[in-house]
Amino acid sequence: MRDVLSAEWLKFRSVRSSRLTVLLALGGVLLGAGLAQMAAGMYDSASPAQQARASVAELEEVVLMLPLLALGVLGVLAMTSEYATGLIRSSFTMVPRRWPVLTAKAAVVGLIGLVTGPAVVFGTHVVCRWIIGDRFGGLYQTPFTDKLPLLAAFALTVPAFALLGLGLGTILRSTAGAIALLVGLVYVIPMIVSKFPAPWDEWLGSVMIIALPRQISGDFTTPGIYGTSLPPWAAAGLLAAYALLPVLAGLWLLRRRDV
């Protein structure tokens, strides 16, 4: 297993697109800085009455889309690029038991997500604190420890999403299919679900992957646009299920399918 792990680590490192994807995810901090700058500018040019009513979305959540999709795609490609090139045959010829290949990929992709996610979320938070200062009624001046659960939950969504991508890539074996499904899970399905009649919008909205961080932390400072009906433990369990179930299904399929 250690051998396969070091091989998969090298596979990740030795392709330029991996670095670009991680850079793109880290670009979330720049995006956050830009948005914070814009929000601060608008706040400063508003009248005191407007300022009193002004609020800003938690920019860590806005920016989160970038590392989510970047790492999700990284997870997908870790598997589907091997199917697309045919390299998967070499990989499985070298490791006939097959499961170590996916397990090692999960470890690599999960680790990259575990580093990138917090880097983007906490990086954005620090930058926003600095740029926004005491504007918007001190939204960015709450003690860091109060914000920690929400930020940590945002950050953990990134490795979970990377693993989800890997799992979907393994199940579907198609880059286009898996990425379409990922984007659907982040953008399209939550949008459709939010238009459902009550109480379905609330129930289904609560199980959307991007609705989970707020429910995990119980921090609803900015009103969530999705559902809020899950207790923290259930939301955390669901996030783990999103991350792990597709990978487990992939492990099961991997052993049975011809390549």
């Binding site: 045959r89 070499s90 010829t93 011809d258």
Partner: protein, 255 residues
């Protein structure tokens, strides 16, 4: 001819591929149909057949990439899938294009090598052996098919295995490369290794192989030495065309 005695203790050591009633069905089509033959050490065994005859599927079945519908394929008396570090027993080149274009030749080989606990020194040696040292750090995407074939052969040789399987390794090689492959195959066989080699180039096969297995529509058509075939027919090509005449699936009519 080196022969492997049945059921002797040497069995796991001697390099042999055995197919026993190997059958693979995809829906209604039988890709491989009750195929039985063995590939013995010390010889280059040419694996011939028209397009769609089941050669590549057979190779994938031997390597455990596909599961047989019935029958079995054994390498050194064991199913390939049961090997822990197969690269020391079996090396294979199935598709030279199966590489990630932006990875360097060196990294590509090292990725494969590491899975079986092989270090960078052996990778450098393998690259040297196939003549790719000068381009080792270049992305594989820019390689010609011939260079990719050499890279694939380097991958097959990584673990210094006793059994080698090559699916059309001569495709895309220049005359130098064709000559090089022929000599390499002869050398590897002379070292007592088992070589299963598929190709559509009959004249090349006549020069390289000792033993010939011909399949058509998934079934075994003929198994003979090159000498036997060329004694009965004017050339190996004539032998091949006559024997496979009834099992060509895709082709213009022959006169």
């Amino acid at each position: 001819m080196v022969r492997c005695a049945e059921a002797t203790p040497c069995r796991t050591l001697c390099n042999v591929i055995e197919l026993k009633h190997l059958t693979k069905r995809y829906g209604a089509t039988l890709a491989v149909d009750d195929l039985s033959f063995s590939v013995r050490p010390g010889l280059v065994t040419g694996f011939l057949g028209p397009n769609g005859a089941g050669k590549s599927t057979t190779m994938r079945l031997i390597l455990g990439l596909c599961a047989p519908t019935s029958g079995e394929a054994l390498v050194n008396g064991r199913r390939y899938a049961s090997l822990r570090r197969p690269v020391h027993e079996v090396g294979a080149l199935l598709d030279a294009n199966a590489v990630h274009g932006s990875r360097s030749a060196y990294d590509h080989l090292l990725c494969l090598a590491r899975t079986n606990g092989i270090g960078p020194r052996r990778v450098t040696e393998a690259l040297e052996r196939v003549g790719l040292t000068g381009v080792a750090r270049r992305p594989v995407g820019g390689f010609s098919l011939g260079m990719k074939q050499r890279l694939g052969i380097a991958a097959a040789l990584l673990g210094d295995p006793g059994v080698l399987i090559f699916d059309e390794p001569v495709n895309g090689l220049d005359p130098d490369g064709v000559r090089w492959i022929r000599d390499l195959m002869r050398t590897l066989a002379a070292q007592g290794r088992t070589i299963l080699l598929s190709s559509h180039l009959m004249s090349e096969m006549a020069l390289t192989a000792d033993h010939i297995v011909i399949v058509g529509k998934g079934r075994l058509i003929a198994e003979a030495t090159v000498a036997e075939l060329t004694a009965r027919y004017p050339t190996l090509e004539d032998a091949y065309l006559t024997l496979t005449a009834s099992s060509v699936e895709y082709g213009a009519g022959r006169s």
